[in-house]
């Protein structure tokens, strides 16, 4: 073999390493950004966490709560996972210069390729249905204000890419099938082509060189497309295909109604209630340490699981469509809370990149610049958004964390709530009644 015959292998190896290398770079950036969040202990109850991941992410149990979208999604998901076995063969072929290296598997190979084709066809059907839901039927949840611009484009772009990838896969197989029929050299007779044999009808009468050209072009575009798609993830809601797994693992295990107790507050309250504590004693801790801020006004004040949540959100809007505040025309949209958190986190990440690894205050924050007080105060903490999320995202925890900042750092609660809270402080009830009258109801 001459040197020139290795050129495709070399080009392939370069493309592959570029594609994977750039992806790894993005994963590193993603991990760094998520780690900007506060630490939170999620090391407990590992068996339950694995179970949740298997059930919710792998098993898609919460997707089928909405049957049409759920079943269509499972088709695309199963198609994606299984067709990736074919990508393995493509990569080996690309590096070694072989063709259909798994062909010796015989009938197993036929079965595999046949299944990939049927799945690819089903994916095409599902993607068309998804497109119609987003663009023709115009489902309400895809047309909320936060979906304008990039999010809407992103949603459609993913569908187009999937359509093109499946199309290329089937075209490649169709040309291959035709070449096999013509006993073209190098094109080993292998695989079953339940779908692409019909596409092959279009290729009848084409010469072997033309067919090889079609097959090669489709093959190359397919793998380049996959590598490009891999690198598109970081910029897209489609990141959920990877992050859904860690996200469901780290998702909340406690009953949904259990909100976290803030440890720093516990320490202070214990000190206040301890009769033996000396209120004038110098603080035992290192004086230089800045006192921890209560609640969150920016992404760095959230914990890293909440930031992981933000990157995992696929903007499906099930949370928002179940939100009682949103249904009654309030500005609050739990999906927007997640999208804002991700957008701000990206902005902070870019700031760090531009300033040699250090965040330089930019006069902006998550509160007010992204999420308004009006949105935060509209929440009923009913947990409908948490329940609705198919991949264990908890928008409510972010809302509460930001309320904590408003109330404890800024005393910026609505006036009626301040009245309610001073009633609790003064007489142990949210209303202005005397605590000594607590038992009057018995004799009324």
């Amino acid at each position: 073999m001459s040197m020139t015959s290795y050129i495709p292998n070399i080009v392939f190896a370069i493309l592959l390493s570029l594609g994977i290398g750039y992806f790894v770079k993005n994963v590193k950036k993603l991990t760094r950004n998520i780690k900007l969040g506060r630490d939170v202990d999620v090391s407990d109850n590992k068996p339950q966490r694995w179970k949740n991941m298997a059930r919710i992410a792998l098993g898609q149990t919460k997707m089928v709560v909405r049957p049409i979208a759920g079943i269509m999604h499972i088709i695309v998901y199963v198609g994606f996972v299984i067709i990736n076995i074919e990508v393995l063969e493509i990569i080996i072929d690309g590096i070694l210069g072989t063709h259909r290296v798994f062909a010796p598997l015989g009938s197993i190979y036929d079965f595999l390729i046949g299944s990939f084709e049927i799945l690819a066809f089903l994916v095409v059907v599902a993607v068309v249905v998804f497109w119609v839901r987003r663009n023709t039927i115009r489902l309400k949840r895809f047309f909320k204000p936060e979906m304008e611009g990039w999010p809407k484009k992103d949603g459609n772009l993913i569908l187009y890419i999937e359509l093109v990838l499946m199309g290329l896969f089937l075209t490649m197989n169709a040309a291959d099938f035709q070449l096999q029929q013509l006993d073209a050299p190098h094109y080993v007779k292998a695989g079953a082509f339940p779908i692409s044999q019909y596409i092959a009808l279009l290729f009848q009468g084409l010469s072997i060189p033309t067919l090889i050209l079609v097959e090669r072009v489709a093959w190359w575009l397919h793998i380049v497309g996959i590598l490009a798609f891999l690198n598109y993830l970081y910029y897209s809601k489609h990141l959920h295909i990877l992050l859904a797994f860690p996200n469901t693992y780290y998702g909340k295990l406690k009953p949904q109604g259990a909100f976290s107790n803030v440890q720093s507050v516990t320490n202070e309250v214990k000190l206040m209630m301890d009769p033996s504590a000396d209120p004038f004693a110098a603080p035992a801790e290192d004086d230089s340490a800045e006192p921890e801020k209560f609640g969150a006004s920016d992404v760095m004040d959230l914990n890293w699981v909440q930031l992981l949540n933000a990157y995992t959100c696929t903007e499906c809007g099930r949370c928002t469509s179940e939100c009682p505040a949103n249904q009654t025309g309030k500005k609050l949209s739990p999906r927007k809370i997640m999208m804002d958190t991700r957008d701000r986190l990206e902005e902070v990440g870019k700031n760090i990149d531009a300033n040699k690894g250090k965040f330089v205050p930019d006069g902006k924050q998550l509160l007010d610049n992204y999420i308004t007080k009006e949105e935060l105060w509209a929440c009923t903490t009913c947990n409908a958004c948490v329940q609705a999320c198919p991949i264990s995202i908890d928008p409510l925890s972010i809302i509460v964390e930001m309320r904590r900042f408003l109330v404890m750092e800024q005393s910026a609660a609505p006036m009626e709530l301040n009245n309610m809270m001073s009633n609790i402080e003064n007489n142990g009830a949210p209303w202005p009644y005397n605590q000594m009258d607590r038992l009057n109801w018995v004799n009324e």
Partner: protein
Amino acid sequence: MNNMEIMAEVLQVRTMEEFMAQGIQPEILFWVGSAGSYDDRAKKISRAFVKILNRAKVDFAVLGPEESCTGDVAKRAGNEFLFQMQAMMNIEVLNGYEIKRIVTCDPHSFNTLKNEYPSLGGSYDVVHHTQYIKELIDAKRLTLEGQVYKEKRITFHDPCYLGRANSVYDAPRDIIKKTNANIVEMKRHKKTALCCGAGGAQMFKEPEKGDMDINILRTKDALETNPNIIATGCPYCNTMMTDGIKAHEKEDTIQVLDVAELIANSL
């Protein structure tokens, strides 16, 4: 029997202080909650529940003036300081009396006592009154006469902090069935139930600008089942749904009752 008769019945209620003075422990502590103590509508629910406890000869206590707000609403509003102050004070009282088991008619108190007090040093077996009533019926300590609501159409509105927050869906329905009523479910119920609009401290403030109040929407869900009675298990839901049927001008034909009242009226 109607509510007037519940009110007329003399209720037996003893405080923890009285139990302590006699050196005995009650079976259970009834956590009345601020709404149950002060809100005119919720007080009737407290009375109905005590009637049930009396009828089942449950040896229960209340804290009376020693009870204070659980801090739930302060916590949801973001005031973690106030919440933890309230929690620590209550825990001191509860632990001082060596309380083991608590029952409450308020899902918010239920959730906070059950889920948020333990890490602050207060671990108790906490049950919602619908769960406790079911226990009493199952143990044959309580028998229902089952005539008053026979064949009545009752729809149950799941309180968020009982349902989604703590996955208690069956107990209230099981005991409503014991009244021989027909349960008619709203389209969204159990996990997908719509909030009444009062949670997260909304009870104490005006709603943000929108095109409808949440309780109006939720009452609409309930009215679609064409019910005789809307049942709830939460004093705040009760207020919201009661206001809701008034807004829909249905207050003359449809009642909003707590599950405890359904049971108390069926004894």
